[in-house]
Structure formats: C-alpha cells, structure tokens
Symmetry: C2
Subunit: 123 residues, 2 copies
DNA sequence: TTAGGTGCAAAACCTTTGCCATCCC
DNA sequence: GGGATGGCAAAGGTTTTGCACCTAA
C-alpha cells in the first residue's frame, strides 16, 4: 500500500500544476523549492509509484529521458522536432480502435498511444 | 556520404531478417556471430547512421532502451505488457490524421506513431 | 509497532564520444 | 592521400538500488 507523504504530494502537485510534461530532473528542481533536501532518488521512486498506481503517466517519445504527465485522462501528444517541447493534442481519443485491432490480431489490447511530431508554432 | 561497410551490411541484414524489433545489444550479439570482434560502439554508430538516412527506424516504447525496426514503411506496433515482445500491427496507416491535427493545432506535422499495449496470445 | 518511505551515495544501465588505426574511394 | 569508419575504452547522462534512519498509518 502506498503512503501519502509530503514528498509525494509535492511531486504530484507540481506535476499537476504544469502543462509542460516535465522530466524527472525538472520536477526535482521545482520540488526542491519547497522541500530543499529532497533527493533525486525519492523523486524517481515516487514517480514510479505514482505511475504504477495510475495517477500519472509516462510519455516515451524518442528521447534520452522520460517525461511525465499528470493528467489522468488519456490524450495524445505532439513533440516539436526542433525545440523538443511536448504539447497535448485535442484530437478526440479513438476508443474503438483498440477493439478493432484486438479482433484483427487476437491480442488483448488495453490501451494505445498516439504521438505526432513536426514543428511547433514558434519553430 | 555513408560508406557501405561489412559491419553496416551485417547489422542491416540481421535487423531485416527478424520480426522481433531487437535492441542494440541483441543485434550486437547476433552480428558478433559473423564478425566476432565488432564493437558495441560500432553497432550504435551504424544504427544511428542508418536511422538518420531513413533505412531503419527506432521505436520508443516505454522501456529503458531503444528497439529498432528494419522495415522502411511506416506501420504501427503492439507491445505485450507481460513479456515485453513487440509485434507489428496490420492496421492501415492513417495519413489524413496528420493534416487534420495540423489544421486544428497550427503545428506543422510530419509524422505520427501509434502504439498499442496489452497481452499477447501467449501471455 | 511496523511496513513503507526518505536521503545519500554508489551502482547500474544504455548510449555516445575521443583517440588512433584502418580501410576504401 | 584523405575522409569515413572501426575497435576499444572511457565518459556521459538517466534511472535504480543498498543501507541506515525516519514516519505515516
């Protein structure tokens, strides 16, 4: 069972207060403003716990490090190939596709991810 | 300009002869059967060169390391949450969606990835 | 009370890079 | 020759882990 600690609450709160899909290290820097002696290991440990419990999700989007997303609902992402920023895409989530592909392949499909890349408005 | 070397050919040939979307390390082990003293650095260097020239692609699918795909055409993937295997999905690629999302967001979109996860037939 | 969490530092891990030798064009 | 590549080893950066001490439930 997962304890609610002030470190965990702070990480979750920072993650939910931004739309920027930050990295673990950025979250670490932010949370340190509030809890100066929190360790990077604790940040990673809590991000894993929160991911496993489904409260946050991890975006794996061609890159050397993970980015995290505090929104509970499923949605799609866009990554700018130049500046690396990640944005949410408003495109409605297609839930039928899981079932269609499941019928076709014989796999049990529980979710899907859709990611776009290109150039953002600034680049 | 990219030279064709026997190391590069061997890597490409191994990658194209499997449907398993292997990791760099697996490719290294396979290619070593043919070129015993090839180095892991060379494998990584050639994978990067081949990726940059568009001959192969890299799949980033929640995981600590990259997997590679020797097929030049765009297609979708499924990852088993239990055994970690990655399979191709026959679902036709939807090319209109790039344009639709581009109109909606104002970004210039050049490509997209679609990934499914769940349980494969064996798991 | 105690199972789970924290801080710290070191380890583990994948990937890239520097250096110099080597191989083709 | 000379630019691109290879092999090796070391560096780089992200993430995990061992351990002793704490703390929420």
């Amino acid at each position: 069972m997962m304890k609610r600690t002030k470190q965990k609450e702070a990480i979750l709160s920072v993650l939910r207060s931004t739309t920027s899909h930050p990295t673990a290290h950025w979250l670490y820097a932010e949370v340190r403003k509030e809890i100066p002696n929190i360790s990077l290991g604790t940040v990673y440990r809590n991000l894993r716990l929160l991911r496993e419990s489904g409260e946050i999700s991890e975006i794996d989007f061609n890159g050397t490090f993970s980015r995290f997303d505090g929104k509970p609902d499923n949605h799609y992402h866009f990554k700018c190939e130049k500046c690396g920023s990640i944005f949410d895409v408003g495109e409605p989530v297609n839930n039928e596709i899981n079932e269609r592909v499941a019928r076709k392949t014989g796999f049990r499909i529980s979710r899907h991810w859709l990611q776009f890349s290109g150039l953002c408005k600034e680049c």
